[in-house]
Amino acid sequence: MIVHLPVLQVVLPLLCAPLCVLFRTPRVAALIYFIAAASAFACAVGLNIQTLDGIVLHYQLGGWSPPAGIEYVIDGANAPLLLLVSLIALLVSVYAPRSIASELEPARVGLFFACMCLCLAGLLGIAATGDAFNVFVFLEISSLASYALIALGARRRALLAAFQYLVLGTIGGTFLLIGIGLVYAITGTLNMADLAQRVSELGENRALIGAIAFVTIGMAIKAAVFPLHAWQPGAYSESPSAVGVFLSATGSKIALYTLCRFLFTIFGASVAFQVLPLTQIGLLVGCVGMIAGSLMACLQTDFKRVLAWSSIGQVGYIVAGISLATSEGLTAAYLHILNHALIKAALFAAAGVVMLRLGGTDLQSIAGLGRLMPWTFAMIVVAGLGLIGVPLSAGFVSKWALATALIDSGQWLVLAAVLFSSLLALVYVGRIVEAAWFREPQAGRTPAAVPRAMTAVTALLAISTIYFGIDTRLPLALAQTASAALLGAAP
């Protein structure tokens, strides 16, 4: 049983998807999704316990040994992502039933949970696999499921957002496919470990440069890195609340992990960052993204859109950390992947609570609500502090790590951009706080009651951002083993 953990955590959600379709009733489908997420989470915990000791798990699918067969490899770099994705999925499974009941007619709820299962299986598969082509397959499984999920949003605008994401996401996925094809053409293998070895023996090769460029751009589209982010604000803000929580916390993070996996494990940092000026490009794109994303977040009039644009800014920090290609930079990037996922999940969950009570999330309509729903808005403030990076919040820990990494590499301009972007974060979080607490509530508003499950999940996420801001041992240990695993150093 323990031996099969790497594949079980992907297969169980995958098998639960058709079950959800068969038992259309909302309650049963929700239960099935809960079981899928809970078992995936249990598997992820089991795997993390082993990888934190520095063990690398190899699992041969169907007993076919690599390079002919597909291999799952769980090491320090992907185990934290498995934990993150399955944890968020588990929390969403508690959050979603009540939230989705208010946004979707009962006949479609079963299909909604089937898509959630597929999306979860895809994301976990991307993280777990050790085969380059398998990454593409799982990427498309999760993407197709997420297009469908976004299209379920209440307003008709969701359809446009889903279509735009479908076009851009498919281009991103196909770019990855081209990159994999090129690197397969020059090495003749798809197994990641094999690829890494053969690429390191190649030397100068133009097809390799093409492969690196295609993979990097493809994954940058999927991760909504700044100039390639066009699909993201619509997709996150128009989708049903539960989907917003899940995708904002996991979708772009998995794409960033895939980028790291290709750049560091397969191509190797010394090759990838030498044949192309990825450090300069990444730092530039990261800086522009941080500032532009935060700036646009300040100008939005809808709470969910503020959060979506802020994500583009926050991805800029992660990209900057990755581009440094140092162990400190990667640790900071991983820390921010984990911390930002929790913070954004908390905020989108709170936005879902607001949505349920008011039927909308524009900043006009939340005026004065701090007094009517003090707990929800207290959680928004707590998680918002994390976005700004106030000390004792999780956001501070990862920003501090990023700042030290930038100072170590002498990138003072980037550090200035990080600080400026944090100031802008203060503005956009401040605008929400100002609207909620310091304005008069609109007359005659009586918000509907909110289910306990949703508030509990929001509170848990918000409190976890503070907890991981104070007790940093777990995320720091995960991030350090991850960066060590990616750079190939002994942990």
Binding site: F133, R157, G181
Partner: protein
Amino acid sequence: MSLAGHYNFWIVIVLMMIGLYTVISHGNFIKKLIGLNLFQVSVFMLYISLGAVVGGTAPIIDDRFELYSHPLPHVLILTAIVVGVATTALGLALAVRIHEAYGTLEETEALQREREDIREDIKAA
């Protein structure tokens, strides 16, 4: 190998550019999907070309043949074709829904209607 000897790769590049250009330049959702399909098909051809062996036959073991094409890229692309079909199906389904919701398949018109909606919302508020 001359430039003409790589004709299949030239076709790949030309198809890819036509596809990408169609996706970018056309505002009609169906035309966008056609462009997307062309773009994907070009990548399928890239993979299939990789597996081709000069003088090789289909990879079915038989005493009369010794040289076979490489089956792996072909199998890979079978998976990618399935993905392409699923993407097209989902895209078309979305196009149907968009047509139901907006009464148009033109992106500019749909966005125009969206802006009018927002303006009315603001007026109502």
